[in-house]
Subunit: 200 residues, 2 copies
Amino acid sequence: MTTAKRDTYTPETLLAVAVRVFNERGYDGTSMEHLSKAAGISKSSIYHHVAGKEELLRRAVSRALDGLFAILDESGATRGRAIERVEYVTRRTVEVLIAELPYVTLLLRVRGNTKTERWALERRREFDQRVAELLKAAVADGDLRSDVDIRLATRLLFGMVNSLVEWYRPLPDGGAEGERLADTVVQLAFDGMKSGQSGR
Amino acid sequence: MTTAKRDTYTPETLLAVAVRVFNERGYDGTSMEHLSKAAGISKSSIYHHVAGKEELLRRAVSRALDGLFAILDESGATRGRAIERVEYVTRRTVEVLIAELPYVTLLLRVRGNTKTERWALERRREFDQRVAELLKAAVADGDLRSDVDIRLATRLLFGMVNSLVEWYRPLPDGGAEGERLADTVVQLAFDGMKSGQSGR
């Protein structure tokens, strides 16, 4: 039995608890009972806030997706040379990953067993596609190498960026560290690890 | 009930079935019952081959780890300039990932709940550490940029390389495709995505 505490949750604080449990146990492995225990309120209290765990998943991945898609509307992503826009988007993607770490972690672990998961996968693909188009424009400008398949380059770029959710743990200095990390990712992805190359 | 078929499994073929189920359901989420159903033989037949599912996990991740550690003893990894050795190890890591895809996938998803999982994580860290040392030597030679933290660079490099297990699916032409992929990973990781840089 759960010793139910008074339900003082807001939609945001309940979502934060749910996302933590989803990331620990996997979405498929999480029951309403697990959520109730973790939140310390009864299942019926949770149902007072949401229709069920799929709604919590939808809200959580929406938060991650909204953060990512918002980048594409920022002026750094819409104005200037394609290479500058793609570097900007890469840097901001790292920053959003860090700022919304548990939400993006959940998004990246979604597998496609439910309608919400399939929708999330579809939106992720759409985001990747938008970045791939930017990469393609930068290749057309002659700024990115043309001897690498764009789809493959996009996957490897996101492979590098998204790996952050597996090992990055925020330090107390938060902001400054995240900025340095974003800089490093952009440098390595675009200029490579070798020394003495252009742009430095 | 499982309709048991005659047990014609060898240790290798049974392992292949177990690894497929572990990757589909997660190791924690897999029971001997699941393995018995997937293999089409009774649980007692499986116990005839192995002591339990943890032994199957140990054998599977050992296969991945043996493949990875063997790279470090190859002459390409032990002779020559550090930058050449680190490029060689990166290329061969991609090739081993592709050749042993289900086994490395399982290794990379291990979480540390059992003794075998903790041992596997420890061995993975050891491999990453060996590669980090090579990177450090290449920085000391002046061949890799010195303005990036080695631990961070190692993590981002493996983030890119290991992401393969999430999206790479072998095509019928197998070998040639894997070689091209390994070339691309090495080019992007060391020379970056920008055009007109050194070494090309």
